[in-house]
């Protein structure tokens, strides 16, 4: 353990010079221009850029790749490999002390990365949410009225891509990075530097997607279907780069999680004592590692089609649009379970705490998580039921899709039986967990209609499927995301959130979420096509209702933002170490958790769910316990 020697911190201006976010941005912009002009030197004369749509695609790719490399170099990611090359001894930890500036640079403390993720993802979640507000503004009228057609499609695409891409790490980024090492009794992740890299890659990706507006946006929505992708203007390259970087980040995140959970569990923490949240993280991480590379590959093919005139997806030259659809959904369907599974795990993790009972059917719950994780690989062609691909395989995909509701049902059973005869406390995180049951029930049962080919013929590509996946992803992921925030943020920041505002946030969000998306099932059944600002006049009332609900849903998010900023920046009421009377190990540590988590590595003798089974175990074992590796 290398506690930094106590020395007076250098002045602020000195700390701003060095490897940090500021340097990263400066070098990133520099790298962008190097790439831009480098590409012009390779592929053609230098052309006017902003405002000119006739430049080559290669310049966009190389510019952003140069930008990302510069950004990472400025953050200090190259220091370690260069130091090793020059023969300096390896250092596992970097910038773990040093006040607030450690949040604005490469930091290998998993707790700092978790909080960085929370704010970073929160920022892009906010941008994605604003896009949703713009979509609903356009949908107030059956005619195209608020935005030009291309702008509208860009807004739709940015909303979808931002939410899917960023929220892929929505739980694992902030909460798993922060909590998994603590829950398994470790002091760090297996690869702390890669952990920091995943976060900063994601931030670079977010900046790339946001700047698509300078290149004309992209018309494809978040799926980026190929013949349209190939013919789209330069903003499409931002989509490709964004998703590819997200894919790399997510792969590394998953690898890191798997390695950590497999190798760094404390003594006594057997597989049946692992908190269920860690099981959820593990099953998600497996999906991440296997699915995200497929996305990177298919986007690389798309990028080659656009720059090097290959013809992977060009039917006229021997390619196939099915190839893109197939590969995309091979990634895309596990992806939606990457979004949903951490939500399952959070619900199962929190229910025992607030119903004061052990988690019911631990093994069944684990089987449910792993079963969903496994089955999610065999369902992707239900996105292509009417596409004409493999017409004779449709019964198989219908069966496999419906089979996945069996392991999902395990989660429901274990959750419900945990509540059974409990002593239920309706705290804010608990309310969000209970809402999950409602939302995911609706989302899951509407999925039954989509999984059934005859019914899917009408609902496919309509607002019905849109409402379905908002129920599963927003209702399943975002609600549990907020449950996790209300549950763990006091531990992470050391400051209490206001419970009254939390309850206002919950009830407005729950009511207006349902008021927004439930009518969209009807709109879909009545024939409203997705991603179109124009719809038939008989749907105007439904759409106006939905739009107004959506705006109110947006306001409920502002209530949360107000609560967060007020609690963390102004009121600053210190949180108790264990405000929920939880038996989980992270709540046995002080708030916020000290830099090295544990003085001594804990020894586990049971799972953390022994409510009603006698006094809580002493997690942090005094003398005689292993001191632990650094």
């Amino acid at each position: 353990m290398t506690e930094a020697a106590i020395a007076p911190p250098p002045p602020l201006w000195r700390r701003l010079i060095g490897f940090n976010l500021l340097t990263g941005i400066v070098l990133g912009i520099g790298g962008w221009y190097v790439g831009w002009y480098g590409a012009h030197a390779i592929a053609g004369p230098s052309i006017e850029y902003f405002g000119d749509t006739d430049y080559n695609e290669l310049s966009v790719y190389l510019a952003y790749i140069g930008g990302v490399v510069g950004f990472l170099a400025g953050l200090g990611f190259l220091n370690y490999p260069f130091a090793r090359l020059r023969g300096y001894p390896p250092s596992l930890r970097e910038k773990e002390t040093g006040g607030w500036t450690r949040y604005f640079g490469l930091c290998t403390d998993h707790k700092v990365v978790g909080i960085q993720y929370l704010w970073g993802i929160g920022l892009f979640f906010f941008i994605g949410g604003l896009n949703a507000m713009l979509i609903r503004t356009e949908q107030l009228s059956p005619h195209s009225q608020s935005f030009p057609m291309g702008t509208y499609l860009t807004i739709v695409g940015m909303h979808g891509t931002m939410m899917m891409g960023m929220m892929t790490s929505g739980i694992l980024g902030p909460f798993a990075n922060y909590l998994v090492p603590i829950m398994i009794g470790a002091r760090r992740m297996a690869f702390p530097r890669i952990e920091a890299l995943t976060f900063w890659l994601l931030m670079a990706a977010g900046a790339i997607l946001t700047t698509t507006i300078f290149f004309g946006g992209f018309p494809t929505g978040w799926t980026g279907y190929a013949p349209l992708q190939t013919e789209a203007n330069a903003g499409m390259d931002n989509y490709i780069l964004f998703f590819a970087l997200v894919g790399i980040s997510v792969t590394l995140l998953g690898l890191n999680m798997i390695a950590t959970i497999l190798t760094m569990r404390a003594p006594g923490l057997t597989w049946t004592r692992l908190p269920i949240f860690v099981w959820g993280v593990l099953s998600t991480a497996v999906l991440m590692v296997l699915a995200a590379p497929v996305l990177v590959a298919v986007l690389a093919m798309g990028a080659l089609d656009r720059t090097a005139q290959t013809s992977f997806f060009n039917a006229a030259a021997g390619g196939s649009s099915y190839l893109y659809e197939n590969l995309f959904w091979v990634f895309g369907h596990p992806e939606v379970y990457i979004l949903a599974l951490p939500g399952f795990a959070i619900v199962l993790e929190l229910l025992p705490v607030f119903s004061r009972k052990p988690l019911w059917g631990y093994r069944l719950a684990v089987a449910g998580l792993l079963g969903v994780s496994l089955l999610s690989w065999f369902v992707w062609q239900h996105h292509l039921f009417v596409s004409g691909i493999n017409g004779d395989l449709r019964p198989f995909y219908m069966l496999s899709t419906e089979l996945i509701s069996i392991p999902t049902g395990f989660t429901f059973l274990c959750g419900m039986m945990t509540l059974w005869r409990g002593s239920i406390r309706f705290t804010v995180p608990m309310l969000f967990c209970l809402a999950w049951f409602f939302n995911f029930l609706i989302g899951g049962l509407s999925g039954v209609f989509l999984s059934d080919v005859p019914s899917d013929v009408t609902t496919h590509g309509s607002f019905f499927s849109m409402a379905h996946f908002h129920y599963t992803i927003m209702g399943g992921l975002v609600f549990t995301f907020f449950a996790a925030i209300y549950y763990w943020l006091p531990k992470m920041t050391g400051w209490e959130l206001n419970e009254r505002l939390g309850k206002i946030h919950f009830w407005t969000m729950f009511v207006f979420f349902n008021s927004t998306f439930a009518p969209l099932f009807a709109a879909g059944f009545l024939g409203q096509s997705r991603r179109a600002p124009v719809y038939t006049g008989n749907l105007k009332f439904l759409n106006d209702w939905v739009s107004i609900s959506a705006f109110l849903l947006g306001i409920s998010m502002l209530v949360f933002l107000y609560n967060l900023v007020r609690s963390v920046a102004f009121v600053k009421k210190p949180a108790e170490a264990n405000p929920w009377a939880s038996r989980s190990i992270e709540f046995q540590l002080p708030s916020p958790v000290p830099v090295h988590n544990f003085d001594r590595i804990p020894v586990f003798s049971s799972d953390p769910y022994g409510y009603g089974e006698g006094p809580a175990p002493k997690w942090v074992v005094p003398a005689g316990a292993p001191a632990g590796r650094e």
Binding site: T223, L228, Y322, M416, R421, I424, R425, V448, F525, G527
Partner: protein, 296 residues
């Protein structure tokens, strides 16, 4: 299921109520009332309606699925309404509940129950699908083919309109979709550029239009009427405006429409590919993909 046998678990000292029995009884009663009501009064109102055999089949299918999931919803509703009331903490003090960790009978019951529902739905959906294709695009080698003769129409999607080609009318091409009533129709959907999706809403027909792919879909029209056609796959800038109306008309009206269209078409016919009756391919070569290029 939540049909918990409470005797299986150590009951807490102050609570001998048979909660499981109450939930099961309430669930049975609610399901017995709600399911027939849903099946009779809600099911048949679910679109797309009865303008075609395939549309009717989808309505039937939706009615069944709604009837199957209604008891599931009832179970969750009863469980949560009862459970959250009966098991709420009664004081601010943190009191532990009984440490029930497992009951294998409930697990088995639940797994068997969900499996039966799921397998039934999958079997039912497969049976319905193989009846007549349910109005979905089946690719170049359809597996659910209605017997008998079929009226063929090719649907050519491009950015941003549909063109309809009638091989039986000498390769007539039109931007109007007219179909004879009470006829089995065989639609060949393809695209010239991006991926589109041909959605004839009231007929319950949806088939993606992929470039270079012949996506076959069958629909049996019923009586005369009008239906909406729109694109259901994002295909670029004017995707939202890619719609028009189709018509199902009786045979007399159809002949009149065809005669009028052929008169209009005569002027450009010499520039188009020869129809099948004159030795040409059944569909315009420009549009129809060669067999080796077919997917599936």
């Amino acid at each position: 299921m939540a049909a918990a046998d409470p005797n299986a678990a150590p009951a807490p000292p102050n609570d001998s109520t048979n909660h499981g029995l109450r939930v099961v009884v309430a669930w049975f009663v609610l399901s017995a009332i709600a399911t027939p009501l849903v099946a009779i009064f809600v099911g048949h109102q679910i679109p797309p309606g009865n303008a075609s055999a395939q549309g009717s089949e989808q309505v039937f299918d939706n009615t069944w699925m709604l009837s199957v999931i209604t008891p599931v919803i009832c179970l969750l509703v009863v469980f949560f309404v009862y459970g959250l009331g009966a098991f709420r903490a009664t004081s601010d003090a943190v009191v532990d509940g009984p440490p029930l960790r497992n009951d294998s009978r409930i697990q088995v019951l639940w797994i068997v129950g969900t499996s039966v529902i799921v397998l039934f739905l999958a079997g039912f959906g497969t049976y319905e699908l193989l009846q007549n294709g349910a109005g979905g695009g089946q690719g170049p080698h359809p597996i659910a083919v209605p017997s008998g003769s079929k009226f063929q129409v090719q649907v050519v999607a491009q950015q941003w309109q549909f063109t309809y080609r009638y091989p039986s009318l000498g390769g007539l091409e039109s931007n109007q979709l007219y179909l004879p009533a009470d006829t089995d129709v065989e639609l060949h959907v393809t695209s010239l550029d991006a991926i589109h999706s041909f959605w004839a809403y009231e007929l319950g027909v949806k088939a993606d239009a992929n470039p270079g792919v012949d996506n076959v879909v069958f629909v049996k029209t019923k009586g005369p009427g009008t239906f909406h056609v729109r694109c259901a796959e994002l295909c670029g800038l004017w995707h939202a405006y890619m719609f028009n109306n189709g018509h199902v008309v009786d045979s007399g009206q159809f002949q009149a429409w065809a005669a009028k269209q052929q008169k209009l078409y005569a002027a450009i016919k010499p520039f188009m590919d020869k129809p099948e009756s004159e030795g040409g391919a059944p569909y315009s070569k420009t549009y129809f993909p060669a067999p080796e290029r077919r997917a599936g």
